[in-house]
């Protein structure tokens, strides 16, 4: 299963971002192969609709779960119309976040 983590950096030791829509990077992690890649979030400086576009971006990656500190109302509305599960109140490093899902 592929999961996405809203992160402040492009590596597994980066901190999880408290805000989904405008996080610096999305870490896409495959729980089976343990491979990951980082996608720079193009929506960081969007005037509006950052959350909405961030959802469609990770959806295209085939992600089934998204982890972040919190989600904006529009991001949440968009996520609820997708098959992606929201995991909120996540803090610490990306590694810690992965542990949450895989343990």
């Amino acid at each position: 299963m592929k999961i996405a983590i809203a992160a402040q950096g492009d590596h597994l030791d980066a901190e999880v971002d408290s805000h989904f829509g405008r996080c610096a990077f999305f870490i896409i992690y495959d729980t089976e192969t343990k491979a990951f890649k980082a996608i720079k979030n193009p929506n960081v400086t969007a005037q509006s609709g950052a959350g909405i576009n961030s959802v469609t971006l990770i959806e295209r990656e085939g992600v089934k779960k998204i982890l972040a500190g919190n989600f904006g109302p529009k991001a949440e509305r968009t996520l609820s119309s997708s098959d992606i599960e929201i995991v909120r109140d996540v803090a610490g490093t990306v590694k810690d976040a992965i542990q949450l899902v895989t343990k």
Binding site: G49, N53, T56, K74, D83
Partner: protein
């Protein structure tokens, strides 16, 4: 003729000046006076004008509605929406009306013809008659951000046969530009403080870009420093009037009494300001 009252900084006394300026012209100018409140996020000019027969009209804008039975989730609408007001996930197309700027691109370009438009209320325009003055007030609906559409609706009531005094929103953003366009003259109200000066400079820059002639009224002129006057002199900007900081003015204002009613000597001064404006116009 359109004279707008604007300011870079908020809270400098735009409404106070707009109301008193408009009231001072009643009976001395051979034209009808109309006050238009374009500060639609905080329309308070009407608190100072005793009015009768207010007529309220709704302001609406078109927003898209997607027919799910026709939509094939191709995503073209979300792609063309520069305001990100549409999201198309793998299951559903979603509209966020609060982000929509009613450009119509989505409904025009939808290959499935699945998008129609419905009207959404964004505000209202109230027209009222006071004694010797007509008042038009725009009001943005709570939770809406499309001030520009409401301002446009207010400005439709501009009557070239009348003297139109426009109370602008503060700042230099889109609603302000929408308000000030087509003005024959703009009065910038400021205060002699570092904040007042900084934001006055931004407003001056804006008006020069818009090529609208302007002058400055310094409110609470006896507070702060002479920084604003020095700037105006250096930039050859005319200071049209100076209003001192007075307890009775503030007191009357807080009770909804126009400032020229407690300081009637200012009627003449506002009339002189008007004459000077007329002289400056081509």
């Amino acid at each position: 003729m359109i004279v707008s009252i604007a300011s870079g900084k908020g809270g400098t006394g735009k409404t106070m000046v707009a109301v008193s300026f408009a009231l001072s012209l009643i009976g001395v100018v051979p034209k009808e006076i109309q006050l238009l409140d374009c500060d639609v996020e905080e329309p308070n000019a009407r608190l100072f004008i005793q009015s009768l027969d207010a007529q309220k009209k709704t302001v609406t804008v078109p927003v898209p509605v997607i027919d799910a039975s026709l939509c094939n989730l191709c995503g073209r609408c979300a792609e063309v929406c520069v305001y990100n007001a549409i999201a198309v996930t793998q299951k559903k197309a979603l509209v966020f009306p609060e982000l929509c700027k009613s450009c119509g691109a989505c409904s025009y370009l939808c290959p499935q013809k699945a998008i129609t438009e419905k009207e959404k209320k964004v505000g209202s325009v109230e027209e009222a008659k006071g004694s010797g003055i007509a008042l038009v007030s725009g009001k943005l609906e709570i939770g809406e951000i499309d001030a520009v559409s409401v301002i446009k609706a207010v400005k439709k009531r501009v009557d070239p046969q009348k003297i139109n005094v426009i109370d602008s929103p503060p700042g230099t953003s889109c609603p302000v530009l929408e308000t000030l366009q087509e003005s024959d003259f703009c009065i910038l109200v400021t205060e002699p403080t570092p904040f007042g000066l900084n934001d006055l400079k931004l407003a001056v820059e804006t008006l020069r870009k818009l090529q609208i002639p302007f002058g400055v009224i310094i409110n609470r002129c006896d507070l702060g420093s002479d920084c604003v006057e020095a700037y105006c002199e250096q930039e050859s900007i005319s200071v049209l009037l100076k209003i001192p900081f007075k307890r009775e003015i503030a007191n009357a204002y807080s009770r909804g009494i126009p400032f020229v009613e407690v300081a009637p000597e200012y009627r003449k001064r506002f009339q002189t300001v008007f004459q000077n404006i007329v002289k400056e116009l081509p």
